[in-house]
Amino acid sequence: MQEPPDAAAPAPRRPAPTAIELFLGFATIAGLGFGGVLAWSRRIIVQRRGWLSAEAFNEQLALCQLLPGGNILNFAVMYGCRCAGILGSLAAVLGLIGPPVILMIIAGMLYRRFGDLPVLHGVFAALAAAAAGLLIATSAQMIGATIKDRVRPGHLIAAATFVAAGVLRLPLLWVMVAIAPVSVALAWWERR
């Protein structure tokens, strides 16, 4: 089977995948998805398997980003439902989280058993420090993407959220209830 070179030349549309194909497809995404699954979902769903066009993928993803929960998890539920109903949703979700959850359970057992060995303690401490740097880079990139020319109300919302949840460590529910309506109202006002 030939793989199309890029998103501009997507694979030809094929019939909707069955539950088994959904399970295998999302399990592949999970297994390859080191450092985030978004890039791999696009690659497999649009390019390799040709289940969706690049535009349709973006449209569905936009909706998934609006709903609560993991974006690709929501994508698996919604796309699975469209292809094969509730069975399709279940198959896609189990494929996406089943194998990584088994891996996490094994990792947790090993960590509890060996995590306090001095040599491994150094490894985990260094890994934690590196993962922190990775998360700082992610937030810096997200901030950079929103600051174009001037400070907008959204920046104050982001700063207020950071102080409330990160510095003061207030419960997330309070933070959401207090800040989300204001933020959405400001977004509406900016787009009048």
Partner: protein
């Protein structure tokens, strides 16, 4: 029984995180940390950040971090309870959305709500970064590793796994 109290705590924590996670699972790391470390005292600050790092280094969606956390707190049942509590509510909402609404990607209300949630997501991811960094950076070597990892991930296009692998190598040599 003590176990069932822990299970109920896991369900309450993660089911709540599930329905208020905006822009992906990592935005609820501050809340998971608050519940697991400060409220219930299930795990230490440092262990939390170490488990987070292990989950980042493993393949799969970010949300499976809760399975690792659940396993550490309450074994295999804890892992299964945590991941189910974290996925079931949001997946149910997504399923209903898929059934109810077909195409509304251009709907104005969707665009406005989504635009309004972006700054919240950014603030929450930055909070996650602050919490994990505070816990992980206990000495100068760790601070330098964080800085180097940030530089590698921010200014270059190499995979974040390179930063994690290099850090693991340094840790093995006993630098931290």
């Amino acid at each position: 029984m003590d176990d069932s109290r822990v299970y109920l705590g896991l369900i309450a924590t993660f089911a709540m995180c599930s329905v208020i996670a905006v822009g992906g699972a990592n935005s609820t790391v501050p809340e998971m940390h608050r519940a697991a470390v400060d409220v219930y005292g299930w795990i230490s600050d440092l262990k939390f950040s170490e488990l987070f790092a292990i989950a980042q280094a493993a393949p799969g969606p970010n949300v499976v971090f809760v399975a690792l956390l659940g396993e550490y707190i309450a074994g295999v049942p804890g892992a299964l309870i945590a991941i189910t509590a974290m996925c079931l509510p949001s997946c149910t909402i997504a399923y209903c959305a898929a059934r109810l609404i077909d195409r509304f990607e251009h709907a104005r209300w969707r665009i406005v709500i989504q635009a309004g949630l972006v700054p919240l997501t950014i603030g929450l991811i930055a909070s996650s970064a602050l919490i994990v960094t505070r816990a992980a950076d206990r000495n100068l070597a760790a601070v330098l590793i964080t800085a180097a990892s940030f530089a590698l991930c921010y200014w270059t296009r190499v995979s974040p796994l390179v930063a994690l692998a290099l850090a693991a190598g340094l840790g093995l040599m006993g630098v931290v």
